[in-house]
Every structure is written in C-alpha cells, then in structure tokens.
Symmetry: C2
Subunit: 186 residues, 2 copies
C-alpha cells in the first residue's frame, strides 16, 4: 500500500488553516508504509468516519450520493508493534509558544485514558516550530488534570516530550522513541 505522498509534498509551501497537518500526515503515512514493508510494525491510519445520508445503485454498485464527515472519537492511527497495542494522533500547530488543547476533543481525551487503563501505548506526535515531538499519553492526561490552561506551553513540550528525528527511511522514526521508553532494560 503506497500513498501518493509526493503529490501532497508539492503543496508544502501553500500553508493555509485548511491544509494544516497535511504534510505531517504524508510523513506519517510513508513512515507506516515503510514499517509495514520492512515487517517492523502493522500500523494504519483509520478511515475518517462518515455519515452516509443517501446511496444510489449505479451499474450494480453502491454509490454514495450524500454524506458528511463525522467528528472522530478515537485517534487517527492504530496498530501493533512488538506485541503492543499502539494508538496515536499527529497534530501540527503554527503557534510558536504553545500547543492549543482545542486540537484534542473531549471524547479523544477519554479514549486516551481508556487506552492507558487497558495497557496500550498512546501518544501524540506534535509538529511545532519545525520540530517533531512525541508526547506520551500519560503526560498529556497529567497536564490536563493538573492545569486549567487551554494550551500546553512550548517550554513544557521541550521539557517533557521526546524529539523525533526526521530521516529518509523511515521519514519519522517514532518507533525508536517507543523502543527507548517501553523496551529498554534498565
């Protein structure tokens, strides 16, 4: 399964509110394709949930004539790595001083807590100030519990998050961070 990422990358400079996170999605998708082909992990982007309103039959196959995008209540990516359940979301912000928590819906926060309770690995990949950060679900929920702030200051991100290095193959080796956190014998 290959994604038409090169096409997306051509639009890199055309940043608008609507396209925010687009590039990041391409990077994650090619990374996941690489992991799958190298037999390292099985991680897929979930399909955006839609509500189908109207369906027609054309030449024997169903064609959706009207539908709308639904709000996701889980995170965008999940899968399996070294026998562990993995789930994460990738978020980009143009804000240089803080990461707005409006990026995460209350249902998603609830879901993150559930994954932690049941022993899964859950995290956010945050692109901010042109760097990639791995924010543990544990740290995110702790921040939300202890703070009334509507955004995470960049100083907190720099202190708590793991920096994910960009490379050629894979584009963004976030599993290396998982190895470090969860699979290093002390």
């Amino acid at each position: 399964m290959f994604y038409p990422n090169n096409i997306k990358k051509q639009y890199k400079r055309n940043i608008s509110h609507k396209n925010r996170g687009m590039d990041l999605e391409s990077i994650i998708n090619t990374t996941n394709s690489y992991y799958l082909h190298e037999n390292k992990a099985v991680i897929y982007k979930k399909t955006t949930p839609i509500g189908v309103v109207d369906v027609n039959y054309e030449k024997g196959s169903k064609i959706i004539k009207k539908a709308y995008f639904k709000m996701p209540s889980t995170l965008d990516y999940n899968g399996l790595y070294r026998s562990k359940y993995i789930e994460f979301d990738a978020k980009e912000t143009l804000n240089k001083t803080s990461f707005p928590l409006s990026n995460i819906h209350p249902h998603q926060l609830e879901h993150i807590k559930n994954i932690l309770i049941h022993g899964g690995i859950v995290f956010l990949i945050i692109k901010m100030n042109n760097l990639y950060y791995y924010l543990k679900g544990e740290d995110l929920t702790e921040f939300v519990n202890l703070n009334k702030r509507k955004s995470i200051p960049y100083s907190y991100v720099k202190e708590k998050c793991y920096n994910i290095k960009e490379s050629i193959n894979p584009n963004l080796d976030y599993l290396k961070i998982i190895d470090k956190i969860y699979f290093t014998e002390e």
Copy 2:
C-alpha cells in the same frame, strides 16, 4: 456510544443476500459497547473505507456529493484487551455444510498473518447453523496453507473452533474465549 441495534433486530427474519451478517454486526456492536462501558476492553468497529470523489461546501461544512465504498484490506474490528492487541472480523454464512473462503479477501489473509507475526490476537467470529464460532487466526492460516479447498468444511469448524455462547449482557461474550486461550495458566 450506543448503536441503534433494536431497530436492526426488527428485520431479523428478513434475510437476503444483501443483509447477510447484519444481525451479527448488531450483536458484536452491542457487545463492544458493553465491554467499553464495563471497562473490560476498548474495541471499535472500523469505519468502512470510502473513496471520496466530490465534495461541496454547504453552509460552511463539507458535504460529500459522490463517493464509493472501498474493499477493506484489514479486518472490521480492532482494539485492546488486557494489554493485548485484538483484531477480528465477523462473518455469517447460510451455507450449512461449509464456510466459503471467498468471505476473506487475499489482502485480509495477508493482514491476519502480519498480526500473528507481530504478536497480536486475531480471529474470526463465524455464525453458521445458528451457532457462533471463534476461529483462531492461526487455524485459519494453517487451513489455507494446507488445503486447496475454497471452503472450510463444517466438520472442521466444529472440531477446531470454540463455541461462543449467546447471553444477555454481553450479547456474545467472545472475550471469555480469549481468556481461555491466552490467559489461562496451565
């Protein structure tokens, strides 16, 4: 998250090729809702993948004007139970003597093997002759490897599969089978 299952159940007797598996889906969905609310497991049905052809903007929100259903390359349900990655599909057949393997696409079979390689739990729930069976991914791939047959004989299903009992809450306690297979100390 509750599903409008009672509505679906009213159509129970109206069995057609198109609706095949419909009832089974309701049973699995209510079971998963029960598991989630009882804090037993976090298991969701994946959204059917669609290919969006045309999108309009109406009153500030995106409305899909044309789209089609894509062939899934993974299984319908996945999630997390007792720190384990779980993935499965639910299939119903009206065939009384064998389970047709045409129910499983080659991509899905490849995916099942991948999950096994990476240490996940993967299986099929098969409804056949009004009984519910749990077929281990390991047994399915073994059958496909050793046989040229295009269907699994019912005798094999009865011998190899675990019977899943119907009940009130949850409707179909398939996690009990997982407990038995993967979490029983011998």
